[in-house]
């Protein structure tokens, strides 16, 4: 969170919002320290990494990719709702 605040401040400086966003550095840093220490002690985010720690033998992945649209001039740097790294987030289940 601390790094995010610094990045935010740096980003903001490009657009001329330096005074407003830089003042968030203190509160953001404090929240980051609190949450980081809390997690280090309580380990609320830890669980068995079964995706990597289980013996899995898979055959080559098959699939298809079809271009269906184009996006122009979006200010977002990534696709909305990206979840390719969040393997445990369940989506609609097809039966």
């Amino acid at each position: 969170m601390l790094e995010a605040a610094v990045v935010l401040a740096q980003t903001s400086s490009d657009s001329g919002d330096l005074p407003i966003f830089l003042l968030l550095l203190g509160p953001a840093g404090a929240a980051g320290v609190y949450w980081g220490l809390y997690r280090y002690y309580r380990n609320t985010d830890k669980s068995h990494d079964f995706e990597r720690e289980t013996i899995v033998e898979s055959r080559p992945v098959t699939g298809n990719d079809q271009k269906v649209d184009e996006v122009h001039g979006t200010r977002s740097s990534s696709i909305s709702g990206a979840n390719h790294e969040d393997h445990r987030e369940r989506v609609q289940r097809l039966r």
């Binding site: 609190y34 280090y40 609320t44 289980t54 013996i55 990719d65």
Partner: protein, 415 residues
């Protein structure tokens, strides 16, 4: 970028699956008998001297007769389960080892007749699988697979000693002392660690999965506006993506106690026990209650059917992990929107796995929680939860925030 549909280099075009689609037809599960026929309920004697003073020798992983020092071990369970060594990709239907059969009896209390003196001895199988005859001092053990989940197919003996576990726990808590709750620091007694055999199911599976979604490839990045209103914007191609993967899993390990399987990080600390998985389950041996002498155990209370949702969740997660490498070209990311799982075959084995557990009951105002520090009884992996002092955390956060704010103000003043 061309409008022509393309497939990434590392993904083969979709082919007709060579296994029938859809869930496997519900049929009666195949049962593998795993009962240890050489043992009975009651007195089981050392083959050399006839004593019943038998327990696990942790340093060798063998059972030892405390009277004549004869050592032996039960057979490994894996060859019995794997049978003729057929590939997991040939696994079909549901196969259940006899110790993982559905629980049909609630009664946890068994009465054993001592063959040494004829007395009747009660064993509460919810907590132990052996008891000492109060008349003749023989040890009586429960070895038949009573249908209450107390006797599993296999047991993985402890190989981490109590002293080693205490050191692991002391080191873990020692690194978390400064911001720990003061009562925890004051009352911390790692010598109170308890060796527990916790109930798990190990599952082999043969499955196929499909995932569908959209991915975007960045085609152009540029800035709009000028001066203070300059912003970065992007152009991208949007692709509809489908992926199919066939895979097998070997010894996926699931909690078979409903209490341990309930993981809500802010209501309990069961997640730290989950974190010390996996175990070297290939080394598990056939059941013999003497492996548990001196340790406590927790009875399985979940059947295979009740654990299917947890298994399917983990299989889908593994499928998503397996296909991740095939979508790396989508540099703006992928949004998976639908997924499908076809379970062709599963094989279930119930197992007691060894955990050293330090527990600390902590009450903070109206809220109470048991904090565990758990040590994997085979490889020493340690994870735990230490109650925090919120005042100390707040002081550290305030100090850091103040320094950062001072820096920010100094920068602003300088500019």
């Amino acid at each position: 970028m061309s409008d022509t549909p393309t497939a990434p280099d590392d993904v083969m075009p979709a082919a007709e699956p060579d296994q029938p689609a859809g869930q496997a037809e519900p049929t009666e599960p195949t049962v593998i008998e795993t009962a240890n026929d050489g043992l009975i309920d009651g007195v089981n004697r050392c083959a050399k001297c006839g004593s019943t003073e038998i327990q696990l020798r942790v340093s060798t992983g063998m059972l030892i007769c405390l009277f004549c020092r004869h050592e032996w071990a039960e057979e490994q369970i894996d060859p019995l389960i794997s049978g003729d060594g057929g590939a997991l990709s040939d696994l079909s239907g549901t196969t259940i080892a006899s110790g993982a059969a559905d629980i049909t009896a609630d009664a946890g209390v068994l009465t054993l007749k001592c063959s040494g003196c004829g007395a009747e001895v009660v064993v509460n199988t919810a907590e132990a699988t052996s008891s000492r005859c109060h008349w003749c001092r023989h040890v009586l053990a429960v070895n038949t697979q009573v249908p209450n989940g107390a006797v599993p197919d296999a047991v993985l003996p402890f190989s981490i000693t109590r002293d080693q576990a205490v050191e692991h726990i002391r080191a873990f808590a020692g690194k978390r002392r400064a911001f720990a709750h003061r009562t925890f620091v004051k009352e911390f007694t790692p010598g109170n660690v308890v060796g527990v055999y916790l109930p798990y199911m190990t599952v082999d599976g043969n499955v196929s999965a499909d995932v569908h979604g959209h991915g975007e490839v960045e085609t152009r990045r540029y800035t709009r506006g000028s001066g203070d209103n300059k912003v970065t914007v992007y152009d991208a191609d949007v692709y509809q993506i489908g992926r199919h993967v066939d895979f097998t899993v070997d010894d996926l390990t699931l909690e078979s106690s409903s209490e341990r399987a309930n993981m809500s990080a802010f209501a309990n600390t069961n997640n730290v026990i989950n974190t010390i998985l996996p175990f070297d389950t290939k080394n598990a041996v056939q059941w013999n209650a003497n492996y548990l002498v001196g340790y406590t155990s927790e009875r399985r209370d979940q059947d295979v059917a009740a654990m299917m949702p947890a298994l399917e969740h983990q299989l889908l997660s593994i499928a998503r992990s397996e296909v991740q490498g095939s979508v790396s070209r989508y540099d703006r990311g992928v949004r998976w929107e639908a997924e499908r799982l076809d379970v062709h075959g599963t094989r279930w084995v119930s197992m007691y796995l060894p955990v050293w557990l330090y527990s600390y009951y902590h009450r903070d105002g109206d809220e109470a929680m048991v904090h565990y520090i758990a040590v994997n009884g085979r490889n020493g992996e340690t994870m735990g939860s230490v109650p925090v002092s919120h005042w100390r955390l707040a002081a550290a956060a305030l100090a850091t925030g103040t320094v950062l704010e001072a820096v920010a103000i100094a920068l602003l003043a300088a500019s």
